[in-house]
C-alpha cells in the first residue's frame, strides 16, 4: 500500500490484529463473578509501564475511583490515551503516572480553564507526546474493536496535527482519493464508569456513550466501575440497552458516586466548587502537595475521599443540581 505521507511521532502500541487475536483467544468467555475492589483491580490490571485508557469525557461519567487508586498506588511509566480527557488527566498528571501520551485533548478542563500542574508536567520534557484528533483516536479504537490494523478518516489531513501523529496518508483503491490511515489501538487496560452492571460485567450506560463502546471493545483488560450492581435478571429484562457485554470485562467494582467530582448523567452534576479548588491550588506547588495528600494519598479509599468532600450532604446537593429543576 503506497504511503503518500506519514506522521513523524512515535507509535506507542503495536497495531498487529493477530497479536490481539492471540491475546483475546486466551481471555475467558465464562460468565463468572468478577466483583472486586478498586484496589485489587488496579493492582492486578494497571501495572507499571502498561498503556491505560480512561472512559467518559473528562469530568463526565469518569471512573474516578480507579483514577485515584492508580495515583495512590504510585504507578509509573504508563502510556496514556489522552482522548476527551480533562479532570482524569489532571489527576493522573498530578501523580506523574505516565511518560507517554497519545494526545487529542489534554491539560485543559474545557470552559473551566487549564490545569497549571498538568501543563507544567507536559512542558517538563518528561512526557513523550504523539498528536491526534478526538475522532482519530476514536477511529483507532474502533479499528481495534473491528479486529483490523487500521482505520480511515479524512481528519488531520494537511495539518501539523497529522505531522506530529503516527498516522499515514494513503490512496483509496477505488476513488484515488486521499485518506488518513490511523493505526489500531488496543490499550492494555481501560476503566469505564457505567450506570448499572451485573457481577459478570454486562453494563448499561444511560445518555451519551462518548467513545466508550469502542474503547470497551479495544481494551485488552477492562475494569468496570458501576454506580450500582444489579441482578443479571435486570440486565436480561431489557437486553437492548446493554452496550458492554460481560466477555469484554475483567473486573466489576461497585462505586456509588464513582464519577465525582465529575458529572453522572441523570444522577448527579459535577462539583464545580471542588473542580475550581483543584485549579486554584495548582498555582502553588506546596499547597497542591498538601491538597493531594489530603484528598488522595492520605485516604484509604474513594469512599473516604467522598467523605472529605462533604459526604452524603454534598452528594445530595449535586443530585439536586442534576434534576435541572428551576429554583
Amino acid at each position: 500500500m503506497k504511503v503518500l505521507d506519514e506522521g513523524v511521532n512515535p507509535l506507542f502500541m503495536d497495531p498487529d490484529p493477530d497479536k490481539a487475536r492471540d491475546f483475546f483467544r486466551q481471555k475467558t468467555r465464562a460468565m463468572v463473578d468478577k466483583r472486586t475492589t478498586e484496589k485489587e483491580a488496579v493492582e492486578k490490571y494497571v501495572t507499571d509501564g502498561c498503556y491505560l485508557a480512561i472512559g467518559g469525557f473528562g469530568a463526565n461519567r469518569i471512573p474516578n475511583a480507579i483514577v485515584h487508586e492508580i495515583v495512590r498506588q504510585g504507578r509509573k511509566n504508563l502510556g496514556f490515551l489522552g482522548h476527551t480527557s480533562t479532570h482524569d488527566f489532571q489527576v493522573l498528571a498530578a501523580g506523574k503516572v505516565f511518560n507517554r501520551v497519545d494526545s487529542a485533548y489534554i491539560v485543559g478542563l474545557e470552559a473551566r480553564g487549564l490545569s497549571r500542574n498538568a501543563r507544567r508536567y507536559m512542558e517538563s520534557g518528561e512526557v513523550q507526546v504523539t498528536e491526534w484528533s478526538n475522532y482519530a483516536l476514536a477511529a483507532r479504537l474502533r479499528a481495534a474493536a473491528e479486529g483490523v490494523s487500521f482505520g480511515l478518516t479524512r481528519c488531520m489531513l494537511g495539518t501539523d496535527t497529522f505531522k506530529m501523529s503516527a498516522a499515514k496518508v494513503v490512496e483509496c483503491p477505488f476513488t484515488g482519493k486521499k485518506f488518513v490511515a490511523v493505526p489500531a489501538l488496543w490499550p492494555d487496560v481501560a476503566a469505564i464508569h457505567v450506570h448499572e452492571a451485573d457481577m459478570y460485567g454486562n453494563s448499561v450506560i444511560r445518555g451519551i456513550s462518548v467513545a466508550d463502546l469502542e474503547l470497551a471493545r479495544a481494551a485488552k483488560h477492562l475494569i468496570i466501575t458501576a454506580e450500582r450492581l444489579v441482578n443479571n435478571s435486570i440486565i436480561r429484562d431489557d437486553p437492548t440497552v446493554t452496550s458492554i457485554p460481560f466477555y469484554l470485562v475483567d473486573a466489576v467494582v461497585e462505586v456509588p458516586f464513582g464519577s465525582y467530582p465529575g458529572n453522572m448523567p441523570y444522577l448527579y452534576f459535577s462539583d464545580e466548587e471542588h473542580l475550581a479548588q483543584w485549579l486554584k491550588v495548582e498555582k502553588d506547588p506546596e499547597e497542591f502537595k498538601k491538597f493531594l495528600d489530603h484528598y488522595i494519598y492520605g485516604v484509604d479509599s474513594f469512599e473516604d475521599y467522598l467523605v472529605r468532600c462533604g459526604g452524603l450532604k454534598r452528594m445530595e446537593e449535586l443530585q439536586k443540581l442534576e434534576s435541572f429543576v428551576e429554583d
Partner: protein
C-alpha cells in the same frame, strides 16, 4: 434610542444571524452555544444543535460547562457518541461548527496545540480535541474571538485545525473535503474569506470601528474590499432574548 450592549453580546448576536434555519451546528461551551440558542429563538427555529460527545437537539436547561455534560443531551432526541457525531460531519450532514484557538492565520488555520517549538513548547494547550475533526469535515467553520495581534498571526506556530491551509486549492491538494472557514467574528469586525484566494477579508465593521483599527490589531495583511459593510448592532429584541432566555445567569455575556 439604540440599546446598549457589550462586545460579547454583539458577537453572539452577530454570530446567531449567520446560522440558517434547518441546518445543523456543532457547538462548544460558552459564546457559540449562546449564539446557537439565540438563533433558535430568533431567525432559525429549526436550527439543530449538536455536541461532539453525542448530544443531538437537546432542550438545553442551562449553559453547558462541558460539551459532554448532562445538559448537552437533556431531553435530546438522541444521546449518541462521538463516533456518531463525527461521522455525521464526515457524511456532510453538519453545516456549521465553532472553533477556538490561541492563533489563527490569514487562511483560517487554527492553533490550539502549543506556542513555541512543538517538542519544547513555551506553552502547551489542549490540542485538537474535536476541533480538527470539525474543521476537516463540516461545511462551514466559524470562530468567535477577541481581535488582537498576538492571535491573528502570519503563521501559526502549529496548525492544529485546517482552514484553507496554503490558500486556494490547499484543502483539495491535502485531500480534505469541501468546506473550510466561513466567518470569523471578533470584537472589532466580521471577517470572511476571499472567494478566489481564500485569504481573510473584512466583511463588516462593528459600530465605531474602522478598517485601519482592525488591520492594526491583525498580524497579517487583511484583504480590505472597496466596500465594507457595517455590522448591524444587536436589536432590542435580540438582547432581550439573549439576556432573559439564553443566558439569564450572565455566565457568558457577563464575561465581556
Amino acid at each position: 434610542m439604540a440599546p446598549e450592549y457589550n462586545m460579547m453580546e454583539l458577537m453572539i448576536c452577530v454570530a446567531s444571524r449567520y446560522l440558517e434555519d434547518g441546518k445543523t451546528v456543532a457547538v462548544g461551551t460558552g459564546a457559540p452555544c449562546a449564539a446557537a440558542m439565540l438563533a433558535q429563538k430568533t431567525n432559525s427555529p429549526e436550527l439543530v444543535i449538536l455536541f461532539e460527545a453525542g448530544g443531538v437537539a437537546p432542550q438545553l436547561p442551562q449553559m453547558p460547562i462541558s460539551v459532554g455534560d448532562s445538559s448537552t443531551f437533556y431531553r435530546a432526541v438522541m444521546a449518541a457518541g462521538m463516533v456518531e457525531m463525527m461521522t455525521t460531519c464526515a457524511r456532510g450532514q453538519v453545516d456549521y461548527a465553532f472553533l477556538g484557538g490561541a492563533q489563527i492565520d490569514k487562511y483560517g488555520n487554527i492553533n490550539s496545540t502549543c506556542i513555541g517549538d512543538y517538542y519544547k513548547p513555551k506553552v502547551r494547550f489542549p490540542g485538537s480535541g474535536g476541533a480538527n475533526d470539525f474543521a476537516s469535515l463540516c461545511w462551514r467553520t466559524m470562530v468567535m474571538t477577541v481581535h488582537e495581534k498576538a492571535r491573528f498571526v502570519e503563521k501559526c506556530d502549529f496548525v492544529t485545525s485546517p482552514g484553507f491551509l496554503g490558500g486556494d486549492g490547499g484543502r483539495e491538494e491535502a485531500g480534505l473535503p469541501q468546506g473550510g472557514p466561513y466567518k470569523i467574528i471578533t470584537d472589532l469586525a466580521v471577517m470572511g474569506f476571499d472567494e478566489s484566494t481564500h485569504a481573510m477579508q473584512i466583511e463588516s465593521l462593528h459600530p465605531g470601528v474602522e478598517a485601519d483599527k482592525v488591520q492594526a490589531e491583525t498580524g497579517f495583511e487583511l484583504v480590505i474590499p472597496a466596500e465594507i459593510g457595517r455590522t448591524e448592532p444587536p436589536t432590542a429584541e435580540e438582547l432581550r432574548i439573549l439576556r432573559d432566555e439564553v443566558d439569564p445567569g450572565r455566565l457568558v455575556i457577563g464575561r465581556a
